[in-house]
């Protein structure tokens, strides 16, 4: 019998077309736009701009501020998420009974769509009717309700807290998988050698966990850097731009100001920053391995 061999390239074709359509084309279009003037001010005609947009970006105080907000958001939220997720994973891995229930319960925040999470927390944090102020007032912590989302520092803290609430489960899940992949003989061996709990963590748990930790971190850092939906629903970037991230600024520029080329420039800058972070993390990971 003769087998007909289809060239493997054909099998890849549908996927390639899909990716070209939804990924490669928009990316190239955005890159092209960032070197053009295109939008309401040009009556939607494309004009070559050279590096005008990037020069504008360097002098744009609003971009600087959104960059700073994003960097602060990423630093604080990812660190918190990582350590809370690690603590929960370690605790859950010790559970002999109820591990599945604990895992399922912990996953709930992560399964909610981000927009729903945002609306939910906007009500919890509402200064007049929110349950948080109510509980804090009943407990005697507050004499006056706090307008969590109306003042710069509490607003950013709230966005970070909600993001932590939502994504700790993600870190938890990946690290728990890592923990479960460690053979128990290793722990027995280190116990025989007289090592305590710290030694077990330092010499068995952590070295095995490093690759999982990096996966969790890479995912979290990239997602956090591009955060849009949570901020848009919760604060819209306010008050006073105190929670305006790069993505929110790009959205406002594109959809409200109808300045497509500058919006694309902001997006391109965001991708450039993410690329640098990804490469750096990869180098660090290679080092660690």
């Amino acid at each position: 019998m003769k087998t007909i061999r289809t060239p493997s390239v054909l099998w890849a074709l549908p996927a390639a077309i899909l990716i070209a359509g939804v990924l490669v084309y928009p990316a190239l279009r955005a890159l092209l736009l960032s070197f053009s003037h295109y939008g309401l001010s040009t009556a939607f005609e494309t004009r070559f701009a050279g590096i005008d947009n990037f020069r504008r970006l360097l002098g744009d105080s609003r971009f600087h501020s959104s960059f700073a907000v994003t960097a602060l958001f990423v630093a604080v939220s990812v660190v918190l998420e990582f350590f809370l997720g690690l603590g929960l994973a370690l605790a859950a891995s010790r559970l002999i009974r109820g591990q599945k229930i604990a895992r399922t319960l912990l996953l709930i925040p992560w399964t909610l769509p981000t927009a729903v999470t945002g609306v939910l927390w906007a009500w919890i944090l509402n200064d007049q009717f929110g349950i948080l102020n109510y509980v804090l007032a009943k407990a005697g912590v507050l004499d006056q309700p706090i307008a969590w989302l109306a003042q710069p520092a509490p607003a950013l803290a709230s966005v970070i807290a909600v993001d932590v609430w939502k994504t700790v489960p993600f870190v938890f899940l990946i690290l728990l998988a890592g923990l479960q992949s460690i053979p128990s003989e290793l722990y027995e061996a280190i116990a025989v050698d007289g090592g305590g709990a710290w030694a077990a963590f330092r010499y068995v748990t952590w070295p095995h966990l490093v690759p999982f930790a990096f996966i969790a971190l890479i995912f979290r850092i990239i997602q956090a850097f591009a955060i849009f939906d949570l901020v848009y629903v919760l604060t819209g970037g306010g008050p006073g731009g105190a929670t305006e991230t790069i993505s929110v600024y790009a959205y406002q520029t594109t959809m409200r100001y109808l300045d497509f080329s500058y919006g694309a420039t902001i997006a391109v800058a965001l991708v450039a920053v993410l690329a640098v972070i990804a490469v750096t993390l990869r180098l660090v990971l290679r080092e660690a391995e």
Partner: protein, 401 residues
């Protein structure tokens, strides 16, 4: 697997949302319009009535979110996609320049009858005009007013000095002198404009695209507002929007309140304060300057992409007629933008109302101003620095292309 499940859920959601937005292109005889939630049901009634009188035209009401900005963005998105979007626009007065400059609205200049031209309030017509052409038919008007406690203040103030004197005199530990909207949002711009115009200053001249924000009048206006905070106005005023200030005023915690027309309608439904204790007047001004109220309000426009411009015009004409407007007024209290229908007590203030600058870049210019005002009001920079920076950024915005 979980990631896979998450991805497929996301894809499914996107598809569903996409399907709900992409409605089939309106066939001849069907019009769609995006509005705020029709809580009272009055719009649906009007559309049903229209359909009875025009059996060949059906109106599909899309109830959008209550946030004005979000609905503005929804209209923009639909226009960017071209045909298949909304046929008729129910729009805020500040959307007009952007939508008109983008070429998304039909020119309605020659459609309006001479009688209507006479009857609509001049500021509302001006607010619907871009570069000399009319794109939006006025429906409901709004303007900023200064409400005061008639039972305390012997006569309404007319200058900033008098306002402060009365506010100081009648405030007490439980009652602030003057409430206004100081949160960073569009409302703050409308308050600032009234204070600015009362000082004889201006923001942007739409004809010449000149920026006046760093002139002495503007700096004095902002300094006046900054100076109120912690004295006549509560520190929390920088987080207040319309409803916060109305509730405080109507529960007796303020002598003066700057707010919109709707407060008068609700003056009897307040808490401690009854309607006969409240009066209103135009925003105050500097001696030998003129005060002006910031114009708000809603109107109807027609999408350039509609397949049915004649049907769309019939609907707009029907909705902007006095009896339709009167029905909405009766049900939800909006004030028709027609001289013949405006309650007499509001007419002098409405005839004096001024629209915000009609420039396509309005949304961005407003964001720049809001940020600078907010920075000054929260004490992060001086009024002088704030407005210089705002002027610099606005000039950059307006000169680029």
């Amino acid at each position: 697997m979980r990631i896979l499940a998450k991805i497929s859920t996301t894809v499914l959601l996107v598809v569903l949302v996409g399907l709900s937005v992409l409605r089939p292109a309106s066939s001849a005889g069907s019009l769609s319009i995006l509005m705020e939630p029709d809580g009272s049901g009055i719009w649906r009634e009007l559309f049903a009535d229209f359909h009875r009188k025009n059996p060949d035209i059906e109106v599909e009401l899309v109830e959008g979110p209550p946030s004005t900005n979000t609905r503005e963005d929804m209209y923009s998105t639909a226009f960017l996609a071209g045909s298949g979007g909304f046929d008729v626009v129910y729009g805020d007065v500040v959307w007009v320049p952007k939508f008109a400059a983008a070429g998304w609205l039909l020119d309605l200049t020659d459609r309006l009858s001479a009688d209507d031209l006479q009857d609509f309030l001049p500021a509302d017509l001006e607010g619907g005009t871009y570069e000399g052409r009319l794109y939006r038919i006025p429906a409901f008007t709004d303007a900023g007013l200064l409400f005061y406690r008639k039972d305390l203040v012997p006569e309404p103030p007319s200058t900033f000095e008098e306002l402060r004197t009365y506010a100081k005199q009648y405030k007490n530990p439980d009652r602030w002198g003057f409430l206004w909207q100081g949160k960073q949002y569009e409302g703050l711009v409308t308050v600032f404009l009234e204070v600015l115009w009362g000082h004889g200053g201006d923001w942007i001249d739409p004809a010449t695209r000149t920026v006046h924000l760093d002139e002495p009048e503007a700096i004095r206006a902002l300094a006046f507002m900054v100076d109120l905070i912690g004295n006549e106005s509560p520190p929390g005023v920088t987080t207040h929007t319309e409803e916060d200030t109305r509730n405080l005023f109507q529960s007796g915690h303020a002598v003066f309140l700057r707010n919109w027309l709707y407060v008068w309608r609700l003056a009897d439904q307040g808490g401690a304060i009854k309607k006969d204790q409240v009066g209103f007047t135009a925003m105050v001004h500097e001696p030998n300057r003129k005060s002006a109220a910031t114009l708000g309000g809603w109107g109807f426009a027609i999408s350039r992409f509609t397949k049915n411009p004649e049907a769309a015009w019939r609907l707009v004409e029907f909705l902007a007629r006095s009896d339709s407007l009167a029905q909405v007024q009766q049900r939800v209290g909006l004030i028709p933008a027609r001289k013949s229908q405006v309650p007499a007590e509001f007419l002098p203030i409405l005839l004096n109302a001024r629209p915000r600058p009609a420039i396509p870049e309005y949304a961005q210019a407003s964001d720049i101003l809001q940020r600078s005002l907010s920075a000054a009001l929260t004490g992060r920079v001086s009024p002088d620095e704030a407005l210089r920076e705002a002027a610099r950024q606005t000039r950059l915005l307006l000169q680029s292309e």
